[in-house]
Symmetry: C2
Subunit: 222 residues, 2 copies
């Protein structure tokens, strides 16, 4: 009963930012869509200044972009940006994998737990969005192996960008079970200390992710 009370304490701005964030992740707002301050203030029932602050939060997260005197629009990731995001993930997760031997038991346990979660959801045939969450949680847990608050924060940020890009891709149909196997193999290599194998598996996996994302976004339909 103590914790629940603590969580209620959120500001108007935080709540507004969260509502908008979820709308973005849900794909309610297509990339390029302008977010009008007054309209949002009316819809959310809050003042324009609060909307402005909430947008500032989302801008800092890279989910939306401010164009001076023209407003805020939902960020669109072009192939170059996707490549950049993948490059960041590669660096972060490689660092995480490298830190496996020296990581805390908790951090290693979290990797195993998120993997188990991921596999379970995929086998049960859970909704795609849920599987994606578990998938991203696994990658996050890799970065958490470094034990660095800041690196995890960066991972969360790029993760949010990916979620945004994924929001409009019901088309992105990957073989979930196969994907799970790929990740399980990665974890196995971690467990056996096959650092080299982990690194190459990461490169391969992220490379795959990039090409399939870019293809789905920019080849199948312009």
């Amino acid at each position: 009963m103590y914790e629940s009370l603590a969580l209620e304490h959120s500001s108007t701005v935080d709540r507004a930012a969260e509502v908008l964030r979820q709308a973005l992740f849900a794909g309610d707002l297509a990339p390029g869509t302008p977010l009008r301050e007054i309209a949002l203030a009316d819809q959310l029932g809050i003042g324009r200044s609060s909307v402005r602050e909430a947008l500032g939060v989302l801008i800092a997260e890279g989910l939306v972009t401010r164009i001076p005197h023209r407003g805020v629009v939902v960020t669109e990731l072009d192939p170059a940006q996707i490549h950049d995001v993948v490059a960041v993930r590669l660096v972060l997760e490689t660092a995480g994998a490298h830190a496996w031997p020296g990581a805390t038991d908790e951090a290693r346990g979290a990797v195993r737990a998120s993997m188990a979660d991921y596999r379970r959801l995929a086998q049960v045939g859970a909704p795609a969005r849920q599987i994606t969450e578990a998938h991203l949680a696994f990658h996050r847990s890799l970065v958490a192996l470094t034990g660095s608050r800041r690196l995890v924060a960066v991972a969360d940020q790029v993760s949010a960008e990916i979620r945004l890009a994924l929001a409009h891709l019901d088309r992105l149909r990957l073989n979930a079970v196969e994907q799970v196997a790929e990740h399980q193999a990665l974890l196995d290599r971690l467990e056996t200390g096959d650092t080299e194998g982990v690194a190459s598996a990461l490169v391969a996996h992220l490379d795959d992710a990039e090409t399939s994302l870019v293809q789905t976004l920019y080849v199948a339909e312009p």
Copy 2:
């Protein structure tokens, strides 16, 4: 004359944020100092809403911290945070060093140029603050080898945190020439493809930086 004008064309908020940022880097504001919105609005001659937005920018950069209903204070880095910052730098710069062979000629040239700049300033006996700038620029150029916009942005952010921590340390008297030699050795190893040597040199250098920073901050004077 074009650039200067371009810089003038910034918003009130951007200018306010920049003024505060420079004040922080100059050490005008000690860690823990509260930044009062009304006072700042008066001093800067702008509205409270603009001050609020500018503070939001600095909060996103980690230079100041908002405590709900209590205001914004200049961030203080405890040893754990310093360690975290160093960990991030190690990851980023290792990634940069790793990317040396595949980096663009421009990126490699930038590393050489910043090194030359750094050495020149140290030999001439330039003011410490200027040498520090060159030093940080060199490390930034390492990260830029990755070619990733986002990684460089992260590097800039932690660099800003370091600048803030350094702002109050006129005491931190390092042998500039010796430092330069250390960095030059690192660059030499990059040029000769001694990846292993680069990695260990980076670890050593950053480790040194961390211990001397922590010592100066927390041992010499509580």
